[in-house]
Amino acid sequence: MKSELELRGVQQRFHARGVASGYITAVDDVSFTLAAKPPQVVSLVGQSGSGKSTIARNVLGLQKPTAGSVLYGGKDIFKLSRAEYDAYRRDVQPVFQDPYAIFNPFYRVDRVLWKALKKFGLTKSRSKGLELIEESLRAVRLEPENVLGRYPHQLSGGQRQRIMLARVHMLRPSFIIADEPVSMLDAQVRKHFLDILLDFQREHAMTTLFITHDLSTVYYLGGEVMVINKGQIVERGPVSTVMHEPSHPYTKLLLDSIPQPDPDARWTSRISVDELEERADAKAAPAPEAPIL
């Protein structure tokens, strides 16, 4: 297991129609390091179109950056040998946003777990495999008898997301790349999910890159946070510092835009549509699709 995942000057451009330059820059010179030791939770927060999901795809090796590099244990992930690449694929695990899209609706959910066992050669024996699966399901607070043998449509969104966490638990990666994993879950299930991630950090020493647009989730997780705007990281630091003493105007705007639950603290200023309009252009980038596992 390698101890570091590093982005060095990553830039990602997409071709786009109707833009003078012929492309848009979704990720612009982004550098950061995720350390496995000590395990940490690092949140990447920004609004839609800011480039945060593209960064997830770069880190996971699903999209090769147009410039810069993603390093795993000091080596470029797009230049790894076969064996190194296999190790990287096991050690860096994704959790995607949509608990519907990641499952093939024709297969029982067990398959996602058995496939992981098989692909990564965790065990050859069926009984040992089942034992591992059941243990991991319990670790994410699912009862094996309630989920095994079911089809994706028979489970709730929260259950499906936790199955993906069970898969992560089985593989014990050093890094989890979670791209908006809770944005489709309601408040209570969301808290459940976040608590499991924090458990993983504490008990299994997993480092999580948590990508979200929701500041209250970031606040709940704690740890470190990076704020991204228009493809650039504009502010980074411990959650408590960034949330209480934001230094960048964009972070301030984000924090001020959280509706305060106080009718006497209504917004007095307006924010203009124009300053947010660039999203129309950003939208021209292909929407990242989560691959079916």
Binding site: S257, I258, P259, A280, A282
Partner: protein, 286 residues
């Protein structure tokens, strides 16, 4: 400020004063399941005043969306309205009981008097129609007399929600979540309805866009004099936008009152809990 609190005290509760757009009385909605009936809305009494923004608050499963679909007559089996009346007073028309009108009569009311603003990130727009054609669809269906003014009307509606006329020629997939929500808002007010029911209008949008949408919703009332009923689980949205809040819990209305009174001096223990459970993030603005 103290004046508005006083005023609210006068109007407090559900007493229907003469200028109500909507008076809901004793509404019961039941879902039949194989394990017996579930009452999603129980004996609900509520009046919506003309020109106000009324918030409906409550956690998931409290019955707030069921209330919305029941009012709009969009409730699907196994859901069923089992009791109550909903008197609707559109300006310049005779009052009707929304639960009794049917067919053509209902179709005429829809959109021109009573419209719906759905959650925009969901599949509310037709993916294979240009935005302007979706406007035409609605307008021609509910107000065919406006056919000749369409060319002028659509750009005007779009500009009212801060969108350029070119958006009319775009397809939904070319729009961001916030733009889609604003298109839906423009469609909702296209025929100057008396009442717009907005179901979680900002859920699934990020905070800055949410702020723009809340601004635009407030503008709808100022510019069009629309009465708005805004359903949201987010107490922050209510605090920022609405005049009065109705709090629902397990299908019942536990409290209705002026937004300041509800937040500063909640009368019901559940409302108190709801307000205390709001996570507060970071520094206070202002």
């Amino acid at each position: 400020m103290s004046e508005s609190v006083k005023e609210s005290a006068k109007h407090k509760g559900t007493s229907a004063d003469s200028d109500s757009v909507l008076e809901i009385k004793g509404l019961d909605v039941t879902y039949s399941t194989s394990r017996g009936d579930v009452q999603a809305v129980r004996g609900l009494d509520l009046a919506v005043r003309r020109g106000e923004i009324l918030g409906i608050a409550g956690e998931s499963g409290s019955g707030k969306s069921t209330l919305a679909v029941a009012l709009l007559r969009l409730l699907k089996p196994p859901g069923k309205v089992t009791a109550g009346s909903v008197m609707f007073h559109p300006a310049g028309r005779s009052p009707v009981d929304l639960l009794k009108v049917n067919g053509e009569e209902l179709r005429v009311l829809r959109w021109s008097a009573l419209s719906y603003l759905p959650q925009g990130s969901m599949s509310s727009l037709n993916p294979v129609m240009r935005v302007q054609d979706q406007f035409k669809d609605v307008i021609l269906e509910h107000a065919p007399a406006r056919k000749d003014s369409l060319g002028e009307l659509i750009p005007r509606l779009l500009s009212q929600v801060g969108l350029e006329p070119r958006v009319g020629r775009m397809y939904p997939h070319e729009l961001s979540g916030g733009m889609k929500q604003r298109v839906l808002m423009a469609i909702a007010v296209a025929l100057e309805p008396d009442l717009v029911i907005a179901d979680e209008p900002t859920t699934a949008l990020d905070v800055t866009i949410q702020r723009v949408i809340l601004q635009s919703l407030a503008d709808l009332r100022t510019d069009f004099g629309v009465t708005l009923m805004v359903i949201s689980h987010d107490m922050g949205v209510h605090a920022q936008l609405v005049d009065r809040v109705a709090v629902m819990y397990e299908g019942r209305l536990v409290e209705v009152g002026d937004v300041r009174q509800v937040f500063k001096d909640p009368q019901d223990p559940y409302t108190q809990q709801l307000i205390e459970s709001i996570p507060r993030v970071g520094r206070r603005s202002s």
